[in-house]
Symmetry: C2
Subunit: 363 residues, 2 copies
């Protein structure tokens, strides 16, 4: 039996609870797991000293009515005293939860998370938690930090662990930017349907495909975090401070105060994006925003590239991600593609990691 | 520490030993593994009662000079007495090793294998070993049975284990047939380079890309085995006896005695294949040999299909495999592609499974 404590019960956390309860009610869980602690940024709910499963029927109301003020120290102590293996699931994107990881690990708690900050932030902190986890025999699984539930992190760990040589990792790592450029610069243009870049950004924002301020997608920082995560797993000490990242927010719009003002002024920059697109088109190419880990030449980067229409990244659909691993054993790359964003597939990756922890601690 | 006994030391087994020794000598093995037993169909070499690692420098000569007649009972008993976790790696494609799986499991030995026979053969036997393994808490990992080291089996287990609904699994599961049809029916024909089907088969055979008798590829049985394996993991009781499989060996050539005679007579059938190809071309399509698991409509099959040139399977390169999982969470499919045959990538899949067993038994 594995006791699970969940921090963060928004979209992804709620979906994870739904997926877990569905498998439990179908009696289809490969290995037994139960939720014994729930927390959001304000309140937390810990089960009793028998570590009975929290009744998940109506958990949202009970968290509010029975919860006490969130206190991650108390949350940690409670899970650490569990007679069974215990796992913390961090569904937030908050640095203050990440700051607590060393305490989780010291208490013997395994960690599963889609939160990119621990793995893409300060390099010293990253190495500290990796070393601490090894020392304490604690597992930290974070499949959903890159490509949501697509098997990206696991595949890279398998390649590295078995001694393959990573020649290059390239990918389209942002569902939002995938959507924006697949729409703006398609492989085959439909006559009469040529929207401007600002049109596409506005529509994407209206449909909830972007961050509240689309500049948080267009600045490339989210993609950079994913490149840093993969680079570190591939054995190179990448850092957000030094990785070259092409910021696609036009210079004059970076200092603009609000998202609304940004969207109002973005049409002024449509010519710029249109010229890039036309230049690509004239060479039978399309625009794609690509992250690359390059251990051989030390040229890891995040940038807007012009790719041939026959390139595997060119024909991507919708908001799919794609990741290509070129290695000594896979000179023709191993490619993984599919939905890389959204609550269902992110929760799927977290849930898969939880089952792996249960497997790896139950023999 | 995990003690490993290897059965089958041909191309794949030798490559696995090379990959393992390279990681050991680099001190880069994520978790400790050592080889304590080796066997081929004739002789076996067991280490001492301390279960010291076999010295792998010159193991081929030592297996011959110090080996005794292969006796899988003695092999099993030796590994079962290991004070540490022990794993049998079956690198053969032999039914007689598979017949021994129940003995391995009863002895508490974990199993890793690229051998498809246990998972695609008799359904009763398959269910028996799955149940026995659950009862004995023994792990059976077989990533390399489908798509070699591509993360196909693991991904499917994750999808099923977390409660996703499998709508369809489709793929090009044979490196040989991928190569034959990618060459014969490309998305863009190069003028003046239109080889006949029999030319392409002959060249593939000369380059060692086919089985000694190419009919063993063209009959579709190998692809059918992979479809059966995936179908059973997806929860449907497929069987080689009942799965509809399109045999691409022309009827008159099935009874021909030798591979040589088959190759000599194959040009008589070039018109047949050429007509199929031209009919596809006229509709802007290409020919691809596709295996499909179809839990929803019960129409699983293996067949030669005409696919649009924009289909993800159409633009496959060389001898790559491709697998597309369409599920409730991935309505736009999760796609994995890359080399699905060859010793290096097959051994990679086996090695990854070994590391997972080490992880899952060492906490």
């Amino acid at each position: 039996m594995v006791n699970v404590g969940i921090i963060g019960v928004g979209l992804v956390g709620s979906e994870l609870i739904n997926q877990l309860t569905a498998q439990i009610s179908r009696r289809s869980l490969p290995l037994p797991l139960k939720i014994v602690a729930l927390a959001n940024s304000k309140v937390q709910l810990l089960s009793n000293t028998n570590y009975d499963a929290i009744d998940l029927d109506g958990w949202k109301k009970r968290l509010i009515s029975h919860g006490v003020s969130t206190d991650l120290s108390a949350f940690t102590t409670y899970l650490a005293k569990s007679p069974d293996v215990a796992v913390v699931v961090d569904n937030t994107s908050n640095q203050d939860v990440v700051d607590f990881y060393p305490e989780f690990i010291k208490a013997g708690l395994h960690i599963v998370t889609p939160n990119k900050k621990a793995f893409s932030g300060d390099l010293g902190f990253y190495k500290k938690i990796v070393d601490l986890a090894r020392e304490k025999k604690v597992l930290i699984y974070h499949e959903s930090t890159v490509g949501a539930g697509l098997p990206v992190i696991n595949t890279l760990k398998d390649l590295v662990g078995t001694g393959d040589e990573i020649v290059k990792i390239e990918g389209i790592f942002s569902g939002t930017l995938s959507y924006l450029f697949n729409s703006f610069s398609p492989t085959e243009e439909t006559a009469g349907d040529t929207k401007t870049f600002s049109d596409i950004v506005r529509i994407a924002k209206e449909n909830g495909y972007t961050e509240p301020d689309p500049r948080d997608d267009l600045n490339g920082v989210d993609v950079a975090r994913k490149v840093v995560i993969l680079g570190r797993l591939a054995g190179i000490d990448l850092s957000l401070d030094t990785l070259p990242v092409e910021n696609m927010v036009p210079e004059p719009l970076r200092a603009v105060a609000s998202a609304d003002e940004f969207l109002t002024k973005l049409p002024d920059c449509d010519d710029h994006f249109d010229q890039l697109k036309k230049a690509a088109q004239n060479n039978n190419k399309v625009l794609r925003y690509v992250g690359a880990v390059d251990p051989v030449n030390g040229k890891s980067s995040v940038s807007l590239l012009s790719l041939s229409t026959s390139h595997p990244f060119a024909s991507l659909k919708g908001s799919d991600n794609i990741i290509a691993f070129t290695t000594k054993r896979f000179p023709n790359p191993l490619i993984i593609q599919g939905a890389g964003a959204g609550a269902a597939v992110t929760a799927f990756g977290i849930f898969s990691d939880l089952i792996k922890i249960a497997e790896r601690t139950s023999s």
